[in-house]
Symmetry: D2
Subunit: 134 residues, 4 copies
């Protein structure tokens, strides 16, 4: 069982969002932050780094936004739906832009293929959490 | 001159957003992240911390979101308006919730008064940057 | 296979550290950041939050330090051993302090038990990575 | 008066470190994180980005470490000297490496000159805070 699930199980009060949907989003956010940090670094080591600057920039943005969203989504105490919802929407936008850009290189670079998949899965998990929040 | 302004001045390409509006937003985001981190810690040291859990939670969220927004707004290379815009909107929501909550305690706790002011200024600076981005 | 392992596999150049030790550290750092963020929030929701302020404070520190260490350790390009080594040492100190504090409550609070275990595993994984770096 | 100083003034308990030294470190850490984030982005926009990958990588590391150090140093509640001290040492190492690398380009790139100065000032402020902590 992941730490995301374990920590949700130990929360001392009730929470309204479906725990399975929340845990899936937390895991996808953590994976996507990790993939984007790695992909930015891999791009920096490619010979044609000059062609990958848009990919690197969006990787850095997406890693920062996923990390913040991961933290906010992990907090249950005195939950504020407006803050969580608008941040999840920003995360969807970041994952879409970064996933699209990495997707352009996925036949050329394995790290872009892996990162594009992580972005798409995270975008979907955030949308599912948005639907569950209502 | 602040580092935000100095770094914007040294950017090697053109950028479309008004540099003064952008620098003001970056400084307000940095101040707000700092104020929220401090206010969460100050609340933890208050005797009636149990009444301040909503304030602490929103302080932590607002600090995380301002820090991510600060980083994204500071990047000019291959700027993606959708990502920046949706993140600024999330930051406005966080600053409003946190500023309102801190505002409830501003006559009781000086740190909440200072933090509420930082949140309101940041909310306004983000809205001004959103207007400039269009 | 975790994203940490997948991203390490796709790195376009050679790297000197054992990939298995590095991937284990990255996963332990990610788990520990997640556990500490969750434990701080769980503590905030406990009735006797006033007794848990040291636990919350160390959870926040440990989450921030693990997140930074996770990012630095994930980067292979132009690796600087001095920076990575000193940050891993700081992370070991944070995991030890936080694990000890959570450990004091592990019979009372399940979230502290889970978090203490995550801190201890992360401390060990950082020490193993330090030994591999040399 | 900066927010760092204002927040330190409002802290509800005593703290042992000299407030002036602490506030100077917090401001230098915030400036350095900002300068490094900006310099990494500026480097990405330079035509010869391929020669600047070491600078970018160290900028990213230094921004992450300064941000974590800024947060930890800003917390006064239940202060743990071991954690703060070891993190400040890691921050000194990061500022030195990044400042040296940026310094190699300071006659060529204005952003590297500004960033090298921010790193050196932050290294000194962290060392002064280390001396004050003892």
């Amino acid at each position: 069982m992941s730490y995301a699930k374990q920590m949700l199980k130990t929360y001392p009060r009730d929470f309204n969002v479906d725990a399975g949907v929340l845990a899936a989003a937390i895991e996808a956010l953590s994976d996507c932050a990790q993939a984007c940090t790695g992909c930015a670094d891999d791009c920096l080591s490619e010979q044609n780094v000059a062609e990958l600057t848009r990919c690197i920039r969006l990787n850095l943005d997406c890693a920062d936004i996923c990390t913040a969203t991961l933290r906010v989504a992990s907090r249950q105490t005195e939950y504020d739906a407006n803050v969580t919802r608008s941040l999840l929407q920003a995360c969807v936008a970041a994952c879409r832009s970064c996933g699209d850009e990495c997707g352009r290189y996925e036949e050329m670079y394995e790290h872009c293929r892996v990162c594009a998949a992580a972005c798409r899965r995270c975008e979907q998990a955030c949308n599912e959490l948005l639907a569950a929040i209502g």
